[in-house]
């Protein structure tokens, strides 16, 4: 095999909240350029898993290696890893006291000491890509949910991440706002961005995913290409989940 080294390796990762086991023995490889969609019932540990990757949650067992660097307790190490990983949240979490443009330039200017002019140019470039450049000088509260989420994606892209994490990016949006955000994500996928996406948008999953990951009760139950997963799920839990989630489609 002449496969490139994985972008992300998770080896036996475990995480507990008190006595509650949120993640157990998670083993996962993500190749560069791979588009992975993570699904599963609520409370199954999907969000916790991707939040461990940039240390918003601390894993208590196993190893997480990103781009050849293991995630450790060291603050500098954590900051370095976070700068390589872009994250998009369910509730956008834009900085309400900063304009859209300042939301985007903050990271590059503070982390990499990029001069303001250059940071602005990069920011405008990405705002254009998420089709929202005309809103650059507005405050987040003046935008719709869909627009805010696209700004959040642009904010993550401004750090030129090697891996993008999406934590249910469309779950908090009004229905008519969802497609705008998904379009941006599809475009990103087609450009070869490595992404991991927790979502219930199965249409999106079928369209862009290389790999489907199905989780339940803190464990990875099934990993496979979408055709296989949707056409012929192996586990009963996945069958049940799919029948529930697809019953209205």
């Amino acid at each position: 095999m002449t496969q490139a080294n994985p972008m992300l390796e998770m080896r036996g990762v475990g995480k507990w909240f008190g006595n509650f086991c949120a993640l157990y023995d998670i083993n996962l490889d993500v190749r560069p350029g791979e588009r992975m969609v993570v699904c599963g019932p609520s409370g199954s540990g999907k969000s916790t898993m991707i939040r461990c990757i940039n240390r918003l949650e601390e894993h208590q067992a196993g190893q997480i290696v990103l781009d050849g660097v293991e995630l450790t307790e060291d603050t500098k190490n954590i900051e370095q890893i976070r700068r390589k990983v872009g994250m998009v949240f369910q509730h956008f979490n834009l900085f309400p006291h900063l304009t859209v443009l300042r939301n985007l330039t903050l990271g590059p200017m503070r982390n990499f000491k990029v001069p303001e002019k250059e940071a602005r140019e990069t920011a405008l470039h990405y705002l254009e890509r998420v089709r929202i450049a005309e809103q650059a000088s507005k405050y987040p509260s003046e935008l719709s949910g869909g627009q805010q989420q696209r700004v959040a994606i642009a904010r993550a892209l401004c750090m030129k991440p090697k891996l993008m994490l999406f934590d249910e990016p469309t779950s908090a949006l009004d229905p008519e706002m969802i497609s705008g955000v998904l379009d941006v994500m599809v475009e990103l996928a087609s450009e070869g961005m490595t992404m991991m996406c927790v979502t219930h948008e199965m249409g999106f999953a079928k369209e862009v995913a290389d790999t489907m990951v199905f989780m339940d009760e803190g464990e990875i139950v099934e990993v496979g290409p979408p055709d296989e997963f949707f056409g012929n799920p192996k586990s009963d839990r996945a069958k049940l989940f799919l029948s529930q989630i697809l019953s209205h489609h």
Binding site: L56, R82, F89, L106, R110
Partner: protein, 303 residues
């Protein structure tokens, strides 16, 4: 069929501004005021003598020019105390507030100890104990007295402008630090509440972008927290101005200290304290207006 141009809002109902009950209450209050004035005038037979007291605000010197007198000097000392006290209390409050929300147990304990110690001791007791500690131990250690004594005339003039009479420099500093330590404890709690009121998502987003701890606080958390805590902070700074009267107990010659002397020497108690009350009011109200302005400016871009 109604077209969009016909979709006008319904006519606005005029609100009656004053009801009969409002007028009745006004009449009662007015009657009360008149009655009190009558009692003072004809029953108490108090002879108002404003001139005696106003002389202590401004007086005419030998050449006949108006020069500020004791009460104004006292007011200036109060203003200096308030100015430096506010700055020092804000710094102490910010630092301790950050310690209070730190993930480091030691820092949290230090800040907690500080806050609880001060909140649970009467200010007078705290100031008596702490003042003598500061003026007796810390000030000589820092060589403040020596510095003041050996200051060149230019330095002395700057110090006099900023801190009042140079002979009382170390005294003033000690009093100011006491005041700031005292108010700082309350500001610590306000800052802590402000920081903790910022939702988890903001911390997470700032961290996810890869900002260092310092930048997370400086660029994301504190700017939002400060907007939220401006109203209670304004209240605390106004309290600081009023609480500065406490340091009269340790012979700092601020407004209240001077007022006690003026009231005693003139025996015009009411006049003195009314004049002093007006002076405090003007200073505090000025603070209130400035903060209201700041608050308005901070409204921009709020969620």
């Amino acid at each position: 069929m109604a077209t969009t141009t016909e979709r006008l809002p319904p006519p606005v109902k005029k609100r009656v501004k004053l009801t009969l009950i409002d007028l009745l209450i006004f009449a009662l209050v007015a009657a009360g005021v008149v009655y009190i004035a009558y009692r003072v005038e004809s029953v108490l037979v108090y002879k108002w003598s404003w001139d005696t007291v106003l002389q202590f605000v401004v007086r005419r010197d030998e050449a006949g020019d108006l020069v500020p007198n004791l009460l104004v000097t006292g007011l200036l000392t109060t203003l200096r105390l308030a100015f430096w006290g506010t700055i020092a209390a804000a710094i102490i409050g910010l630092v301790m507030g950050l310690c209070r929300t730190s993930s480091n147990l030691f820092l949290r304990m230090v800040a907690r100890l500080y806050v609880e110690l001060i909140r649970n001791i009467p200010p007078v007791v705290f100031i008596f104990v702490f003042y003598f500690f500061i003026s007796g131990q810390i000030m000589p250690l820092l060589g403040v007295d020596e510095f003041a004594r050996n200051a060149s005339p230019e330095t002395a003039r700057v110090i006099e402008f900023l801190f009042g009479p140079i002979g009382l420099f170390s005294n003033f500093l000690a009093g100011m630090i006491c005041l700031a330590m005292f108010e700082g404890a309350y500001i610590t709690e306000i800052v802590r509440a402000g920081i903790q009121s910022i939702e988890k998502g903001q911390w997470e987003a700032a961290r996810a972008v890869g900002l260092s701890r310092f930048n997370v606080l400086r660029d994301v958390i504190l700017p939002q927290a400060i907007r939220k805590i401006l109203p209670p902070l304004a209240g605390q700074f106004i309290t600081l101005v009023k609480d500065s009267a406490i340091v009269s107990l340790i012979s700092i010659q601020e407004l209240t200290f001077v007022a006690i002397e003026v009231a005693a020497s003139t025996t015009r108690v009411f006049e003195t304290w009314i004049v002093v009350g007006v002076m405090y009011f003007v200073v505090c109200y000025f603070f209130a207006v400035v903060f209201a302005r700041l608050e308005k400016r901070g409204q921009r871009g709020r969620r």
